[in-house]
Symmetry: C2
Subunit: 438 residues, 2 copies
């Protein structure tokens, strides 16, 4: 059978991994795909640069136009970062009749509707397993394996950098700065880690997954996100004492009993998880996601969400899907793009009901507990448990931490209660709070 002609746009970490599989495992891949996967062109900035993989010099060029004009290239693998150039090149590639495989989540989260619509117009496919959770096939699971289900919720550890840092802090007692430095040293965090640790990256991924799962366009801007940079050792220790750990979760909840098409709420936030929960056991740079469907119940996937070969594994699976002819058919059924036939309304995450962990720094004197509990009661927030240790010797009469676990409350009511608490005279520092997973 005719080989599938492939061009690689970008040959950095992931691109080198893809080239490595295509060049070194060509027999294996041809057997799995039923036809050869032929790497025909590699577009890079600097053809002379030393790479981890030995790409034949005659495949390298600096110009996308060679790819656009080459009828022997059927698929372009878009593995350059950034959004602007990537967007333009993907639109050009589609217009030139190339399928596009991409690992660029920012592109899909921010311009998904535009590029998907362009692909439909040009009758080409965009295939993007590698864009979310690296080697973990969550895109295929949502788009194909769970297609019989109405998805009810998603709950994911989608950012490996944050999870590595939180694991270092909670299991090895490191400070945030120490854990971040270790992540950078091991290549799990960029020199500027902002987008990873502030929840933006997880929000991008959640936007993609929610569109697939619920069939409704989800602009990244509607996803409230909190990151991990202000999580302290104190809260990790209290959480552990109470039987919990803290993870950065991306969550989506579908509620079918509201408007005709239902309602969808989303957020990214540090969340307390019971130790016995599966997601609480996800350590280091690993990712995991729980999906609830109305037929399948609860299912979960776990694996490496980033890294050269795990991501290349997903990219090459997409290439095999194209070679076999599956990906083109899947693309036609995907609910992703500008059309919205779902009738689903997005509702603010402030309306979600949750339990909460709340840590207050209060004056160590008579009546403080009464003031705090009355304030919560006035907002209808009911207390499930309280931890207040005796003040250390010599610190009596100063300030003590007071940790409260609430029963379920509406997020905005709870936040309003915290605002009121923070204005009480007995509360001596801004309160810290996190949702607690059910």
């Amino acid at each position: 059978m005719e080989p599938l002609g492939i061009a690689l746009i970008g040959c950095g970490t992931v691109g080198s991994g893809v080239a490595k599989l295509l060049l070194e495992q060509s027999d294996r891949l041809a057997a799995r795909a039923g036809r050869p996967l032929a790497l025909r062109r590699v577009v890079v900035r600097d053809p002379e640069r030393k790479r981890a993989v030995d790409v034949p010099r005659n495949l390298l060029s600096t110009d996308l136009r060679g790819v656009l004009a080459d009828p022997g290239v059927h698929v372009a693998v878009e593995v350059v970062g950034g959004v602007d150039w990537a967007r333009r090149s993907v639109l050009d590639l589609l217009a030139a009749g190339k399928h596009v495989v991409t690992a660029n989540k920012a592109l899909l989260a921010e311009h998904g509707a535009e590029v998907f619509d362009a692909a439909r117009r040009h009758e080409r496919a965009i295939v993007f397993e590698a864009s979310v959770m690296g080697g973990v096939p969550i895109v295929a699971v949502l788009a194909q394996s769970l297609a019989a289900n109405q998805i009810l919720s998603l709950q994911g550890i989608l950012n490996g950098t944050s999870n590595f840092i939180l694991t270092g802090m909670s299991e090895y007692g490191r400070s945030y700065a120490e854990a971040l430095a270790e992540a950078q040293q091991r290549g799990y965090a960029e020199a500027d880690p902002t987008l990873d640790v502030d929840g933006t990256d997880a929000a991008h991924k959640l936007a993609i997954l929610a569109q697939l799962a619920f069939g409704v366009p989800v602009p990244v801007s509607v996803i409230d996100h909190r990151g991990i940079a202000d999580i302290s050792q104190v809260d990790l220790r209290y959480a552990r004492e109470l039987g919990y750990t803290i993870k950065l979760l991306a969550e989506a909840w579908f509620d079918g009993n509201g408007q005709p098409g239902g309602q969808l709420a989303l957020h990214v936030s540090p969340v307390l998880l019971r130790h016995s929960e599966l997601l609480a056991q996800v350590r280091g740079p690993y990712n995991a996601i729980r999906v609830q469907g109305d037929a399948v119940g609860d299912i979960a996937l776990y694996g490496r969400g980033a890294g050269q070969m795990p991501t290349a594994s997903a990219v090459v699976a997409d290439l095999i899907d194209l070679a076999v002819g599956r990906a083109q058919r899947t693309f036609q059924t995907l609910r992703f793009g500008s059309q919205d036939a779902s009738g689903i309304a997005l509702r603010p995450s402030a309306t979600v009901r949750s339990r909460f962990y709340l840590r207050l720094l209060v004056a160590d004197r008579l009546g403080v507990m009464a003031d705090v509990t009355r304030t919560l009661a006035e907002r209808g927030i009911s207390i499930a448990s309280v931890v207040q240790h005796e003040a250390l010797e010599g610190q009596e009469g100063e300030t003590v931490p007071l940790v409260i676990m609430t029963h379920t409350a509406r997020t905005e009511e709870f936040r309003a209660a915290v605002d009121t608490l923070d204005r009480l005279g007995c509360v001596t520092a801004p309160s810290v709070y996190y949702p607690v997973a059910e």
Copy 2:
């Protein structure tokens, strides 16, 4: 577009779940499949029997021949149990030009080569996501999502009945008989639970997964299997004390450094797993599997391995795959059937190296520890840790349990050492041992 015409062969628990989705969610499924999924015939033993789902009376019949002769039926969903009638009916359905979706793992494990070859001959597809792990899409993950990888190992909790019983024993202190009775009461175990608790069911599933993952025919008879019926509270307690739990695991190890195509070892056995391991956290009737691939690294899937709607979720996903046209293409690339181009040799699981948990009942007298440790040393078995509690008051000088964790040893060497130990005068009852996962 033309509807996909479906016949249901069998309408028991899973069949009713499939009928329920097809009849009650027809709009949802048509949207996902790009065409209607039309339930045209339901073949049952007794059309008058009351069912959990309201199947229109005119669809019901007792005769497969109506399905074979109906050009409006494109796919038959084979959800009757047993092997003999199922095998004949599947061969007839394929010969009549119908695709077959099946949840019958015994059929595939025992006659997979024959039915797959027949399907290829008739240019039809057999689609079988529901045959292993119910709603968990391990078949799609191995056949598609991990297609770029050489799979290196599989490690699965594939039998929900056994896992439910072990959870009841280890977390709620129940006896085996009590936990089994509860499983039966909740519908997680059959009246005759033999095939579930003796490891046969897990071996069937492992045979199917191993063929998919490694491309080599795996007769069920080559899979050594031990069940859970003789696991005692004593061993669960010692395991816990040492930081482990006991799970019934189906495992496969690929070793590429032996013969040209490599070697594959498989077994089903109770195994000690560290509490911090993901699979150790899988409770009750849930299933989970870890897969190691040479590119993707470690990935894992978790969910309900049986039950009406989880299994129906997988069956209907297979029907959507056929409606979209993916399943037919996937089937052509599957490495399953009589041909074996893998060059992989099966090696006995007795040659696998593992750590071991060993519990001996020994006489409480001088020199016993020396005898035991010398016997192990003579076989090259190195001891990692020993637990021997003081004899209870009043029982001094009688027998005491001695629990040993070994370093890595070849299984057959270890077993030979145990045989020798059991013949020592100081060992007063047959020793109990289980492998310990790395």
